[in-house]
């Protein structure tokens, strides 16, 4: 649609965590402090981030979302999830014609203030071109990225998705962005039986195989991250009592705010300031409100340049205590370095390898990624986190496509969906854990991360001595 330039600057997705989930995964019995979480899916939040970053972590306590017990016991524990195809059009279960290209759709903002997400498509294209060249595509089919622009306006996603499905006949949509955008269009995918896979929003409802089998989540849920923060404060700063919260006034920030407003008092903390900010503000007023409460810890439920400005303004205002940072701001080059040495005593849930982090300079996956971008993506800046995100999403898609091709019935959309619901692989971008989801007990693909402190002098995260959070397999299924 037309430019959304005049709109408030950054908006991020993640629907407000429904009360049901909070209840379900809230205060049930704590067992074991550090839960492990498999990680998968794409990584760092680049520029205007939002849900684009990777790896979820379940609550350090037991299952993050609905308790496992509520899953119908009829499914045998290990049996793979089969997506119902009775209501699907015929071509959903027909294998792709020989030689026909596999069209993967990316529906997201290409224009407007959030155009920064458009580069995800570039990352996907790099990996697809690599597979096309090196392995001749998947099962003999060349891979293609079809981009549709919805300028991040939910009202535009409807026609864009319709065109992708009916016009371009995409085989699957990967990494669609915008919670209202995904929520508004998943019905279309369900009707046309086209996978809406690894959506790039952190709302837990995307792990609901029973009601919405054609939609899977792709990145960690902010609800879960907020819970990890509470646990982390309890563990690392036992004497902290007063907490101040800054949240972005949109669905992304609201998810953090709602979860924290409930989890913090439950854990015995006093919320001394709970300030929301618009996309237009420069945070000077908001940080003054935060500091006025004399907090021991500040939590920044916001993203992009707001993370940097929160850190700088807080330090300038004399606050020396710990600041917790959203994983969407994990990118060192874009958000931590600009904060300079103000970024001491800052903790972020590191979920993915950051291509601009010197610690991963010699990591084989990162090196391979940077090489691939060099050969297959001229003019694409490998250091931008969203590109690595797109690259990683493509990796997972190809993994699913290969597995789907081997299923009986060949490479059909239904089999691809079943493959999306049965990941068990190590994604190149994840710093640990396994991208595992089985559509029965664990509907969340990314549940691994490390609460690590950022070292401003070394310009890297001290992942080694961070608190590992791995709740792989305990994500459960969405019971909202």
């Amino acid at each position: 649609m037309t430019q959304r330039a005049m709109r408030t600057r950054l908006r991020v997705t993640a629907v407000v965590c429904l009360a049901a989930i909070a209840a379900a995964c809230g205060s049930d019995s704590n067992s074991g402090s550090s839960a492990t979480a498999g990680s998968a899916a794409p990584a760092t939040a680049a520029a205007p981030a939002t849900e684009a970053t990777t790896a979820a972590t379940t609550a350090a306590t037991t299952a993050a979302s609905s308790a496992a017990t509520s899953v119908p016991s009829t499914e045998a524990a290990g049996a793979a999830f089969k997506v119902p195809t009775d209501k699907c059009p015929a071509d959903a279960t027909q294998p792709l014609a020989d030689g026909a290209p596999i069209k993967i759709g990316f529906i997201g903002p290409q224009t407007g203030p959030l155009a920064a997400f458009g580069v995800i498509a570039q990352g996907m294209k790099v990996y697809f071109d690599k597979i096309n060249k090196e392995q001749g595509g998947v099962d003999g089919h060349q891979l293609e990225v079809v981009t549709k622009d919805d300028a991040y306006d939910p009202a535009q996603s409807g026609p864009a998705v319709q065109e992708a499905i009916q016009g371009d006949k995409i085989f699957a949509s990967v990494f669609q962005i915008g919670t209202p955008n995904v929520a508004g269009t998943r019905q279309q995918y369900a009707d046309a039986c086209v996978p809406q896979a690894l959506v790039g929003t952190g709302f837990p409802a995307w792990g609901d195989p029973k009601n919405w089998p054609w939609t899977t989540g792709g990145i960690p849920s902010y609800t879960v991250e907020a819970k990890v923060w509470v646990q982390f404060i309890k563990q690392k700063f036992p004497d902290a009592k007063k907490v101040a919260i800054l949240s972005y006034n949109n669905d992304f920030g609201k998810t953090y705010k709602t979860t924290l407003d409930e989890a913090l008092p439950a854990a015995g903390y006093q919320i001394v300031a709970d300030v929301a900010h618009e996309g237009t503000s420069d945070l000077s007023n908001e940080v003054t409100q935060l500091l006025a409460g004399g907090p021991d810890v500040i939590i920044g439920g916001t993203t992009s340049t707001f993370c940097t400005n929160l850190i700088k303004l807080a330090r300038q205002g004399g606050f020396t205590g710990p600041i917790l940072n959203s994983y969407t701001c994990q990118s060192i080059q874009q958000f931590m370095v600009p904060a300079g040495d103000a970024a001491a005593n800052v903790f972020t849930l590191v979920v993915a390898k950051d291509p601009s982090d010197p610690a991963y300079a010699d990591d084989p996956d990162v090196k391979q990624y940077i090489a691939d971008v060099g050969t297959y993506g001229p003019g694409v800046d490998a250091k931008v986190g969203n590109v690595f995100t797109g690259y990683n999403g493509a990796f997972l898609t190809v993994d699913a496509l290969n597995r789907a091709a081997k299923m009986d019935g060949g490479l059909t959309r239904a089999n691809l969906m079943n493959a999306f619901w049965s990941f068990n692989t190590k994604s190149p971008i994840a710093i640990g854990g396994v991208a595992k989801v089985d559509g029965v007990k664990d509907a969340y693909i990314a549940e691994y991360g490390v609460m690590a402190e950022y070292d401003p002098t070394g310009q890297t995260y001290k992942v080694a001595d961070g608190v590992k959070i791995d709740a792989e397999g305990q994500g459960g299924v969405f019971a909202g």
Binding site: Q3, P48, H277, S281, N285, G317
Partner: protein, 319 residues
């Protein structure tokens, strides 16, 4: 410690340092809005138009300063002066080539033209410099962490003023003085004000009216260029969208102050800054994110009593 528990007044209000810090933030933000309001006034005074592309022109200039300073290693102020002159030429050019031919043929056409320019500049900047935020940001004023004057630091929150906030005030004061000097003391300024007051008799006394319109746009573009660099540092953001919101507040400030008054732009900007800062801090019945709505409410009230803004001149309408 709320001495006076006035209903609806947030008890933190009487925390002295919070009040002083809020006031500083308000005046600094207000100065930012005043700078943009000045660009709005400069164009409105002679042409009577609103330039929707003003923010994007300032953003574009700021990116050129970024290229000169960060990539080419220029001194920041040398780069700013260079870019200001360039921007003035471009501003005058836009008025002469695009706006003037439209001037006579329709009232709304220039508005749409500036909208077109908005998309061109916004999309152009995103194409050339990408959509990611850029850093480091050129720093006309010392902007490191401890470049600030701590006044009261034993209370919570600390009361301090950063050098870059002082820088914004200095920029505003200097620009207003220069503008006054130009308009009040020079022949060019007299001619510009004559065209603003009565374009036809300006023609009769021999003033090249077209060139004065171009001057209006040039001044606006020049001020926009300096403002862009100073605002980018103050708000610590430099991406292809950072001026869009600031311009809206600039429009609001110019509207409150009166569209054709420089003093109005300054007072209007500071008023908008104060209202934006103090509504959430003062009143609890309005969510903190609604300060923008409160600003607009204040404008409505001011305009209701003075339809031409605080300092605007009342245009007599002849039948």
């Amino acid at each position: 410690m709320g001495i006076l528990a006035v209903p609806g007044i947030d008890d933190k209000f009487f925390n002295l340092t919070l009040f002083l810090q809020n006031l500083t933030n308000a005046l600094a933000n207000g100065a930012v809005y005043a700078l943009m309001a000045l660009t709005v006034v400069m164009i409105y005074k002679t042409t009577g138009h609103l330039n929707f592309a003003q923010g994007e022109m300032a953003m574009f200039s700021t990116f050129i300063v970024y290229v000169l300073v960060i990539e080419q290693g220029f001194n920041v102020w040398a780069a700013i002066v260079l870019v200001v002159l360039g921007s003035m030429v471009v501003g005058a050019g836009i008025e002469r080539i695009l706006i003037q031919p439209l001037e006579r043929r329709s009232v709304l056409a220039p508005v749409i033209l500036t909208l077109g320019l908005f998309f061109i500049l916004n999309g152009g900047a995103a194409t050339i410099w990408g959509t990611q935020p850029h850093s480091p940001i050129p720093a006309p004023f010392p902007g490191k962490l401890d470049d600030k004057v701590d006044i009261i630091t034993n209370r919570v929150p600390h009361f301090f003023v950063t050098y870059k906030a002082i820088g914004v005030w200095i920029t505003l004061v200097v620009l207003v003085l220069l503008l006054n000097l130009l308009l009040k003391r020079t022949k060019l300024g007299l001619a510009y004000r004559a065209v603003a007051a009565n374009a036809e008799s300006s023609l009769i006394v021999g003033i090249p009216v077209k060139r004065m319109l171009m001057l209006g746009w040039a001044l606006a573009a020049g001020i926009g260029a300096i403002a862009g660099a100073v605002i980018a540092q103050y708000r610590n953001v430099l991406d292809f969208n950072f001026m869009a919101a600031v311009l809206l507040f600039g429009f609001a400030a110019a509207c409150v102050g009166g569209f054709d008054s420089i003093l109005g732009a300054v007072v209007g900007g500071l008023l908008v800054g104060v209202v934006e800062t103090f509504t959430p801090a003062l009143f609890t019945f309005v969510g903190s994110e609604l300060s923008l709505v409160m600003v607009l409410l204040v404008i409505l009230i001011v305009l209701y009593f003075r339809p031409q803004g605080l300092f605007g001149s009342k245009r007599v309408e002849r039948v």
